[in-house]
Symmetry: C2
Subunit: 479 residues, 2 copies
């Protein structure tokens, strides 16, 4: 036998402590690093050897390269000055939950391959129903249930597949090639919907992007008319996506009206609350969920705004059998007594991949560490910060709000028009002091500043605002 | 402002050290724990509170519940006595790489959202081409390139979508509903293929499961005949999966013959080497890869047998544009200068989800920590162990090998037939001393023992074999 030797427990302890220290230090200094990586394409790769090493290297050497090569190429999503896109926030208990999951290294594809992995997930997803005031039909003791997915993109694909099979009585899964299925979403819905419709073989052209109103919410009359027109044309409407908190501007589609239309036409209603859903931990932010008790599926991402590191997306269905029908497959090598008893959940039938990590640990750690009360404080603090920023913007005659500020996203622009705002964005991001992104609202270039980092305080928001103001003035002077 | 407080750096250090210690201890005691969780459905859930806590709890309390509630419900994939399915092995540097990824918490959906996340991944996947002797067309400096996926299931779906769009000139992605596309795989291919074909709207009935020979390898003449017959029927063959190392018995499809057929008929050739692919780190195990230079896509999972914790699946394509054409979508809020320059890779266009973790870190850690030489020793040691077990089985008149043992999987059975073998398996697994699974080969119930854990030594394999022998004798006596 040859002498292969893995890292032993003592070495793991030593390097593990060192990495924990490195991360603890990172959280303390991240604020001082440029938020958006100041690097040119290819610059990181150029520092890496072209070939893998023949002999193993010391762990200290690897960590030195993390510091020297990797860190300058990182855009710091965990910086308190990160205001771009939607957050992908995190917190120490989540990171430790992920570490435990990686360390245990279990596969949760079947109940039998690690019962605790499945049962903790079921329990935590039932907890989340209570935590967020979600409809009871999403609980595992109803006909529905929840599952953790990697992302809202995968969740929307699963919802679409379940609906596709229900609408075609399983024919499309078996035979493929069905023409005429039509899906609906607002023109502000996430791009993952169009991507999923393409993947599912329904055809991206068969997503009807329903016009939204000036507040970027779906117009339900336009939805009803389009469904009628498609039916009249002999097509088969089958699925509607309603968004609670759009990516561009955090607009909320009018769920009760959309739910009524779906019920009338017997369409699958999927509700995407990827970012905003986390706010429902606070009762005062639950009114948007009205109508959710009519939804067939629902998704929100604790990995966006609930202190749980990516990936952790909560996906619920009202009829779990519809989902399983679309995704189940049982080769001989996966047969086992527990599955055949019908008493257990095998989550592999609730998702695209077969394998799955023990993701529930990190969400369990987060909920227990902060408690309902801590999670509510976290959300409320960010909403307060966003409202404060909105007041400053309103008070500055050079700037204007571009959309309402229901939660933690502020959409705004300088009054000097698209080119100016684009230049302002690039200049501010290049400074490294903060990072924000843009969108287009009502045909106009719009800046988006989203507050979602646990370490972001009023000081960071104020500094960001001052940087924006000062940079705008400088740009004015440059003219 | 309210007083939300996240876990501070000192507390993170303290709990981080404690968790590292817990894991180090776990690796030392895992061998003494029952491999297959000895728990009844619902037993774990029954110990968890029905509601989430109102106030936060101490981290020590959470870890106490991990020990008390979770651990007894774990099937120990990292036990040296785990021989079931295929391994999902891991090693300390991988776990630390995952910790770093979780701790940095970056989103790698675009190059711009963390350049190092994209560039390290590209570099490491180019390293892997050299490490495994893969065709140069899979390198990023050719027209192809590699990407990390969560699983071979997702990789096969991506390959299928790229092929679907190439075969239909983009029509299916846009319009959907195409009839007549036909996919091919052997009857021993992984169930994820049929699942992916269903998801992609091609219809599970349109996968032709080509007969395998008595050694469970695809019969290329049967493949050619089926393609001819389908063409004659006006159907459109478009995609073939060849497996290097099937799930049931680690059989290898004859790649050169299959590649010739694919070339003749201009079919996309996907090669699935999920488990066995890792063996190619040793030049003596590369002969199965002959013909791979004709493949359009290739996948193997370092998270199975290359010391990297799940999820980490290497997926390569020869024509990256075909993949991007199938999966790309560009909403306004993701536009950025780097993407528009065309100089960078945006990996979101290479996968189903939008978001992505910094997975390359763990693979980089593993390759650097062990070096080519260490990884080779790791593979060779497991192959030697499997061959030793095969010799013991051959020497026992009560048992027989059920398939050749090319690498680390031993398929065998007791001579007393299906019912006896099934009982033997259940009895052995219930003992907690080891965990193995089964399959059916040539219509007969077959035991599978796969050696893939870094801590598995000759002693564990010998003990497993003795347990099997002793349990079989006991069963004989019971009759």
């Amino acid at each position: 036998m040859n002498r292969f030797k893995t890292m032993d427990s003592d070495a793991f302890r030593q390097h593990g402590y060192a990495l924990i220290d490195w991360l603890a230090d990172y959280y303390q200094r991240v604020e001082s690093l440029p938020v958006l990586a100041q690097t040119e394409p290819g610059a990181i790769r150029a520092q890496l050897p072209p070939q893998p090493p023949l002999q193993g290297e010391a762990f200290e050497q690897i960590m030195a390269d993390v510091e020297r090569i990797i860190l300058p190429g990182i855009t710091h999503w965990q910086s308190p000055n990160f205001f771009a896109f939607f957050p992908a926030n995190s917190s120490p208990p989540a990171v430790l939950g992920e570490l435990l999951s990686a360390g245990l290294g279990v596969q949760g594809m079947l109940w039998a391959t690690s019962p605790a992995c499945t049962e903790l997930e079921t329990q935590v997803l039932d907890w989340v129903v209570e935590l967020m005031g979600l409809p009871q039909r999403f609980r595992s003791d109803s006909d529905g249930g929840g599952v953790l997915q990697d992302s809202a993109s995968s969740a929307v694909l699963c919802a679409l597949l379940a609906a596709r099979e229900r609408a075609t009585a399983g024919v499309m899964n078996r035979q493929g090639g069905r023409h005429g299925l039509i899906a609906y979403a607002s023109d502000q819905a996430h791009s993952s919907i169009e991507k999923a419709v393409g993947i599912a073989g329904i055809g991206r052209d068969n997503v009807r992007l329903i016009a939204s109103d000036t507040q970027q919410a779906m117009n339900p009359e336009a939805l009803a008319q389009q469904i009628q027109a498609d039916r009249a044309a002999g097509l088969q409407p089958f699925w509607v996506n309603a968004t609670l908190g759009t990516t561009s501007s955090l607009a909320f589609d009018p769920l009760p009206a959309i739910a009524r239309i779906c019920q009338e036409h017997q369409l699958w209603l999927h509700v995407d609350a990827a970012m905003a859903g986390s706010a429902a931990v606070c009762p005062e932010f639950r009114h948007w969920q009205q109508g959710l008790e009519q939804a067939d599926s629902y998704c929100f991402n604790p990995h966006k705004w609930l202190l749980t590191n990516f990936d952790c997306s909560c996906f619920y269905v009202a009829d779990r059998q519809a989902l399983i029908n679309a995704l189940s497959i049982l080769p001989d090598y996966l047969r086992n007594r527990a599955t055949e008893s019908g008493e257990v959940i095998d989550y592999r039938d609730w998702q695209i991949p077969l394998g799955r990590r023990f993701r529930a640990l990190k969400l369990w750690f987060v909920i227990r560490h902060y408690g309902i009360s801590g999670l509510q404080q976290h959300i409320r603090r960010h909403v307060e910060l966003a409202h404060q920023l909105a007041r400053w913007i309103e008070a500055d005659p050079d700037f204007e709000l571009a959309a309402p500020v229901p939660l933690n996203l502020v959409c705004f622009r300088h009054r000097r028009g698209d080119v100016f705002n684009h230049t302002l964005l690039e200049r501010v991001n290049a400074s490294g002091a903060l990072y924000l992104t843009h969108t287009r609202l009502n045909e106009r270039y719009t800046l988006r500043l989203c507050i979602g980092q646990p370490h972001t305080t009023i000081c960071h928001v104020e500094a960001a605002w001052h940087t924006l103001q000062a940079t705008a003035e400088q740009l004015n002077d440059d003219r």
